[in-house]
Symmetry: C2
Subunit: 252 residues, 2 copies
């Protein structure tokens, strides 16, 4: 079997509110899950403040290292929304008002008080960019080459991801199975390593828990080969059972 290309992505989360701890990020996990379905592997996340040079440096570092870059945050109408300007600077292009985005905003706000200068900020894009439809709240996202600029509000980001469903080239999704057992992970470290070594091409992660007074762990078997995942998790289950560990049914 020829080596298949692994498609990779990074996420740049833009926002003082995440770095101050005020807001619990919800975009990392939803972008991660969505990318996995597209067969694209999320390889890195960075969180940076609302600061033009930091955003531009982040985008430039990531867009050359990965196939796709997603950003969340900083595309609203207020003075602290500087993502578009920062990404235009990263690409060395001016910011323009996108005619279609302007039209979308004019239509959206016709029954909502009309477009103002502030609202028109949301029609600004780096020159050469395309739009990402936003079915929920008018203001579109922006695609600049391999950089996908999305809203920070998780429900709006989700709608933009949905609009991109199936539109990005990817490989085979990574599949996983979870085997849970009342086994302290330090007792089964060798068993896990041996299982992983026996089945070339899988990765086994170990996530300990302490529930109702008992130690245990969920072991997550991952691969893009579904049969391999099934074989490995069956083997792992057998080995844990032979070693006398009670299954924990609460795995994913």
């Amino acid at each position: 079997m020829a080596e298949e290309k692994v498609w990779t992505a990074a996420l740049l989360v833009i926002g003082d509110e995440i770095l101050s701890g005020r807001t619990q990020d919800k975009n990392i996990s939803q972008v991660a899950v969505w990318l996995n379905v597209q067969g694209i592997r999320l390889e890195e996340v960075r969180v940076v403040p609302d600061h033009q040079a930091r955003i531009a440096d982040g985008v430039n570092a990531l867009r050359t290292a990965y196939d796709y870059v997603f950003t969340t945050g900083g595309i609203g109408p207020t003075h602290d929304d500087i993502t578009v300007d920062s990404i235009a600077a990263a690409f060395g292009v001016p910011v323009i008002v996108h005619p279609k985005a302007r039209q979308i905003l004019e239509d959206y706000y016709v029954t909502r008080g009309g477009v103002s200068e502030a609202r028109l900020r949301m029609a600004r894009v780096p020159e050469g960019a395309e739009l990402i439809p936003n079915p929920t709240s008018g203001a579109p996202g922006v695609k600049m080459e391999n950089v996908y600029i999305m809203a920070g509000v998780p429900s709006i980001a989700a709608a933009m991801l949905q609009a991109l469903d199936g539109k990005l080239e990817g490989g085979r999704p990574v599949l996983s199975a979870t085997v849970g057992a009342y086994a302290p992970e330090s007792d089964v470290a060798d068993l896990l390593r041996e299982t992983e070594e026996t089945h070339t091409g899988v990765a086994i992660g170990s996530y300990p828990f302490f529930k109702e007074g008992r130690y245990g762990a969920n072991f997550v078997v991952r691969s893009d080969d579904g049969d391999l995942v099934d074989r490995t998790s069956a083997d792992l289950q057998r080995r844990l059972s032979e070693a006398g560990y009670e299954p924990y049914p609460g795995g994913l």
Copy 2:
């Protein structure tokens, strides 16, 4: 007034389980909030996979750019726990078994089945490192120069942070006040920018919401000068009220 040093930190979250979307990260916000209390500003977060070179590169990039680096994840007893090895590689030093960590584990496991080779993995540190006490589960964290290596399980990471309370040099904590209003943020963009410009030294963030059928936003005023925060939020409240917007009491 002389310019005070701003103490900065970065967080490196290590874990395939975050990048796959399986686990919702909880360490970013708790580290952020804790750092703020210490008067240290969280300037950047990176999430990287369980991969030695990626961890080492991340640590090396961050430890030279910021005063402090915190890492979470990958310090347990199993084969996928490679944080200590990766950070030793980043510093170009060997991994040794720390005598005091070994003693802590021997004491901890004396009533829990004894130390095994896997459990002793948790006594391994980069040569030259010190320990971070872990009151909850035996295995200590590790401090290597300005890098603080902590557990990924949020409750254990929290206990390690608590053990470090007040021990890191920092500046003045950033203070904040939240002013909420039923004001669509695009309608008050100018008002916000003018308020920020009037009060040199504050930053105002705008976080929109849609609640019970009404648009509004929380405006967060931030500065390390408490009086300035108070003056600015009072002024912002007055301006919003004069412009006819109803206060939203649900701010922080």
